[in-house]
Symmetry: C2
DNA sequence: GGTCGCACTACTGTCGACAATCATACATGC
DNA sequence: GCATGTATGATTGTCGACAGTAGTGCGACC
């Protein structure tokens, strides 16, 4: 007797997708960079990290090469790998790429008139609204990035989702690389409201404009031109972490998961 | 006495960028996939390829992980890595991503009114025109992909260029994966002419439309819906290669190059 | 006093080897 | 005859070890 939740027309046995050890390590490294456990510009101590993860250097190095390909780690011969620095000189490049990915995702959703997709984005937007009521800068930043990833993911394009998952971490790295520390704007929800409204109106050009405006604001915040111009925007700053030697969790082989 | 070509205001010593062995191997693997030396779905025989490249398995595996991240290789635990198959079920996803990247690149060029960028694209277009006069399917395909990469590269965005360099190989893989073999349309230049004209007119929407149309045509060609509909388009087909065991060239450490 | 040179240390880059796993072919039983 | 089980071969995944290299601190020399 099949499980009740199994669809009748589904294939008898789904293709099981066993993540390889390298997959797990790569995910762990991305999370460590995203959370700041691996600080910007810090060298990747292979022996130490491999010991913390409970693996050898070989699979660790292989996983790290994936992050090098993503641009999250930089490799110099003889000097190993370091967590990439996303300085002010790279902000335009990064956020222009985000505009490309996110505007097209919005266009796809609108072209398809995909109500379910909008609902997913709405859900992420609601979460952002609730989080923005508090003063936890990191939580707000997480909700912000979650919203943008939800937008791209709702477009249901594997390529764009993959790009975005890296862009999210790169954006976080840009914040960490900022001299001003980790800062989020208090009025962050306003800028997102425009995107949300355009989606609900099925207005592709308005959505693209809203996303572009949002990215310009983000670059302005990170470069600090607002302060220079004397424009005052209320912000929330996270107190700098002790930046101590954060330990990474050991790799635990999960049970077989469905793809 | 400095070299005449050195700009006077340039820094005294440029940062030399020494490519690592893994860089070289990764490039070699990408070229092998692009050229078809590594056939679609073929397993990556590590010992054999490492021997051909004159390196050990370790750096080869590290380089291969970069291609796994790009999606050019697929890894299954216990079965190693294989050259990815880009079947018909993934064509929409792939070409939708190309639309996202290429339309935004065109928008960037047009927004900036970048004449030099248009000239670069024009140059690639001219080369495509000359090549399309012949009947070498592979050469036409190369010129086609070169054109699209030149378009994105002219936008001068590192992220988009990186995405596109992978998308180019993925597109080639889609052709190799096609049941119909490697086929290019004889009227391929017409479709590019629309893109080129829109760029020269600084018309962003027309460029986006032309690029979208071009991708639809490409998907139609690869899925063969044109034949099914009885629409006849003149094509050039490449005779299938012997698919023999193509040998990869050994890795030779190049001299120090400027970044 | 500053700069150059040298030795030491720590780490990376690469290799070969071993064990575990998977695919294939063959033999066996129903 | 078909399905099941088994043995074999090849290949992957992982590890430890070694050599080469970059960084660091100290000392000597100009």
């Amino acid at each position: 007797m099949p499980h009740p939740s199994a669809h009748r027309n589904a294939p008898a046995v789904l293709r099981v997708h066993r993540p390889s050890t390298v997959d797990l390590i790569a995910t762990e490294l991305r999370n460590a960079i995203y959370s700041g456990a691996l600080a910007v510009r810090s060298p990747l101590r292979e022996v130490e990290i491999a010991r913390q993860l409970g693996v050898s250097r070989s699979p660790l190095r292989e996983a790290a090469q994936r992050l090098v390909q993503e641009g999250l780690l930089t490799a110099k011969p003889g000097q190993g790998m370091r967590v990439a620095v996303v300085g002010e000189d790279r902000l335009d490049d990064l956020f222009e790429a985000r505009v490309a990915v996110e505007t097209h995702a919005a266009r796809m959703i609108i072209d398809k008139h995909d109500g379910a997709a909008v609902a997913k984005v709405q859900s992420a937007f609601d979460h952002l609204l609730r989080t923005a009521e508090g003063n936890d800068a990191r939580a707000i930043g997480d909700a912000d990035l979650d919203f943008h990833f939800a937008l791209v993911d709702a477009a249901d394009n594997a390529h764009l989702s993959r790009y975005m998952s890296t862009l999210v971490v790169e954006t976080r790295l840009a914040s960490f690389s900022s001299k001003r520390g980790y800062v989020v704007r208090k009025d962050i929800t306003q800028s997102h409201h425009g995107i949300m409204a355009a989606l609900q109106d099925w207005d592709a050009e308005a959505a693209a404009d809203a996303i572009r405006d949002h990215m310009v604001e983000a670059v302005d915040r990170l470069t600090g031109v607002l302060e220079e111009r004397g424009v005052h925007v209320e912000t929330v700053t996270e107190e700098p972490t002790p930046a101590g030697a954060y330990a990474l969790g050991p790799i635990t082989q999960p049970l077989t998961e469905l793809s």
